[in-house]
Symmetry: C2
Amino acid sequence: MMNTLKDRRSIRRYTDRPVEHELLTRLLTEAERTQTMGNLQLYSVVLTTDAAEKAQLAPCHFNQPMVTQAPAVLTFCADFHRVTRWCRERQADPGYDNFLSFLNAATDALLYCQTFCTLAEEAGLGLCYLGTTLYTPLEIIRILQLPKLVMPVATITLGWPAENPPQTDRLPLTAILHEGTYHSPSAADIDRDYAAKEALPENQEFLRINQKATLAQIFTDLRYTRRDNEAMSAGLLHALREQGFLDATAGA
Amino acid sequence: MMNTLKDRRSIRRYTDRPVEHELLTRLLTEAERTQTMGNLQLYSVVLTTDAAEKAQLAPCHFNQPMVTQAPAVLTFCADFHRVTRWCRERQADPGYDNFLSFLNAATDALLYCQTFCTLAEEAGLGLCYLGTTLYTPLEIIRILQLPKLVMPVATITLGWPAENPPQTDRLPLTAILHEGTYHSPSAADIDRDYAAKEALPENQEFLRINQKATLAQIFTDLRYTRRDNEAMSAGLLHALREQGFLDATAGA
């Protein structure tokens, strides 16, 4: 796995070869070994392979072409619906319609998703993780018919790779690791940890094309703006309330 | 990796051998290959190896003995503080003090955490994932001195295994996988998917000891009760507000 990981890149173009159903179910089953809260497995996966259904999902992901081009789209969901159904069938009174339960289930779903990604890449598949899942969750909920206490948290487009893009950079571990307590980075720390990223030719080119003074401005002014983040935060909290994970008074 | 995973179990007892710092930093560095939002790497890790510092953290994790016994405790944090510092040093106006940004960073942190766990287990280390991180986050924030826009989301106790416990059961994939759209389980589906779990001798024994009629009641009445979940949900939302990820009006 270490070699697969060292070489990993997100794959956004796939061959026409389908992802064999037997392979997919084997990988999804193996990934179930991931640690999970109280062994409750608070997740579910909706698999989309039908062209019309992929086309329905595409706008939820900014119409990125891999959603319709990928042979398989997997939506990983935080799921307390199944456990709640189990409780109701077993004379038990479930109390999982709250924010902690959402985060517990989201954690289970994301850990499971990441194990699945590792296994899939080790099997030679390529994938792209779509962070857009959190942008218009109510649309995804409607399309996939997710009941209360199910919330989509991650989407993966999956297929056999038809590209081998250059690997992206990463920060030095000094930016990530804190020993004992957290040490807020000084201006010198920031310079040290971001220097290589800022010097990359492709990032310099971004600045030129977008007429920005710094790479950070590409993120704040174009890619992840305050206005978008605040609007989508409101939408996300609304979706959590709709799905029963946040009561109307909980945020007050 | 597939074989390591098939064989995996959570490890709660460790030998006296420390986790070599060089090994730990190599694994943490390799895990950085995990996909991340906009390549921003919205996570950080606080490493605790000092006995006194581990003892401080222990009550946040219900004094489970592995927190003080493990040679290393790693707290994985959703982190928009570092990116915000970078923006401020680069004449960019960051807008990441909101709920979407928290979930984006939590996602990055959990995916990174899970890749690290997979690598660590492949290297022969044993670990236990502590879901308790979400129970008293403000205490962890205080002890680890986490600044605004940093939120602990996962804790791992890590060491060389001194036990080999039996493997726990998992649900059949029929409980997890939905094709096309979500299908809420019928009573018959619940019976089919939970039968093996409910029949396990250790679970039957739990019922007897706790004088409960069903396994589900063990979860609802003892392990994860409505009262606890609701109290801890309020604490979690309070911590998110304190850390700057949820403004006072956002939940209204």
